[in-house]
Amino acid sequence: MKYLSEYRDPEMARGLVKRILDTSTRRWTLMEVCGGQTHTIVKQGINEVLSDAIEMIHGPGCPVCVTPLEQIDRALHLATRDDVIFTSFGDMLRVPGSECDLLSVKARGGNVRVVYSPLDAVELARGNPDKEVVFFAVGFETTAPANAMAVWRAHELGVDNFSVLVSHVTVPPAMVAILEDPENRVQGFLAAGHVCTVMGWDEYEPLADRYHVPIVVTGFEPLDILEGIWMAVRQLEEGRHEVENQYVRSVRREGNRPAQDLVSKVFRVVDRGWRGIGTIPGSGLGLSPEFAAYDAEIKFGLEHIHAEEPAECRAGDVLKGRLKPYECPAFGGRCTPESPLGAPMVSTEGACAAYYNFGRVQAGAAAGANS
């Protein structure tokens, strides 16, 4: 019961847990796509209390974790230039590149600044006309409208010392890659509520149909996640495979149209590499040709920077659900949040860091490491 003590409403959570356990006639395998949900699931021990009925596989839904090493190296290159102010969301600062991370560049005097909103980076460019301000535009569909607005705004205001290093990824192509994998074990998905707040859920319907998997659009509170799991389990038990919406207070079927419109104006669909997974066709966003002037890769000629990912990190297997983080030989030993080998150990939304921070005891015992 210790895992339930943190719930805002333990009674309600307990009711849902019991319902899920009672409804399951066998053990089902579900994947939550979003790193924010991974964080909650592992922190609250939802995977532990449900483990008789459900195996939760933690999907690739942490944009920090999947940003390719190459893009990190490009960011590091820009951050060391004297004429550049490099801006980023805070959680990208500790992602290890081939040699170091943005935080250590900053410590050595590099002009690296954390922004809360991408519009802050545009303001910084307006206030520093003698510098080039580059923003690290990463994230899923949830972040894309904000990053699109920054580029649009710079364009509207004629701020030409602003550019973006883009590493945007989109969820549905990654789900297809997981489902197409011959070793796939995922039988149902919790889709990320905030991605669907922006995009709606139309694009998930063909997936549910073609691959016979229930997909439940799910929110982020523990009770949301439990209800999402329960809805997915009910579908599996009844032999249905539909898209259902648990997160009705934020998500509408058509999503946020004004946001979609600006995203499709500023960005276009491109192939994108995912750290630990490799290139997934059509799984990313890049700037559309009209906005090429804001593309940092073109502006600073970064195409020549390439990088090989270290073989020791098993992030690919973790992100595909083939390996639990604590089954990675480096977990908790050579790889910790203080000195991470791979991106899933860096972000608090990464599967490896979530297990390290909240699941240390069971994980350590299971891995035979960490007393």
């Binding site: 009711g15 924010g36 909103s117 949830t142 207070r249 934020s250």
Partner: protein, 94 residues
């Protein structure tokens, strides 16, 4: 980066053509871009905010309804649970 948090709009204004507003997150206040929800929100509404952008208006009716459904579900379970416990307790009595 992925966490969207609901907050309440305290005021709204125009910043060189961009609708913005102050949003209160349980005491912490931030300036938020309202461009993507401009047509549907007023001061006092709750919005889900992600990296400085409101991406949806929180539907209060739906929020309440979901909560009620969850509560009913769990209360029912509580009663059944208590009944089970009472049964079990009876069985162990000599």
């Amino acid at each position: 980066m992925c966490l969207g948090i609901p907050g309440r709009i305290l005021d709204r204004r125009d910043d060189a053509g961009l609708p913005v507003g102050t949003v209160d997150f349980g005491g912490v206040r931030r300036e938020v871009c309202l461009a993507y929800v401009a047509d549907e929100v007023e001061v006092g509404d709750y919005v889900v905010v992600h990296v400085g952008f409101a991406i949806s208006k929180v539907d209060e009716k739906e929020a309440k309804r979901t909560f009620e459904v969850l509560r009913e579900m769990s209360q029912l379970e509580e009663l059944e649970w208590m009944a089970d416990l009472a049964d079990a307790a009876e069985r162990v009595q000599p």
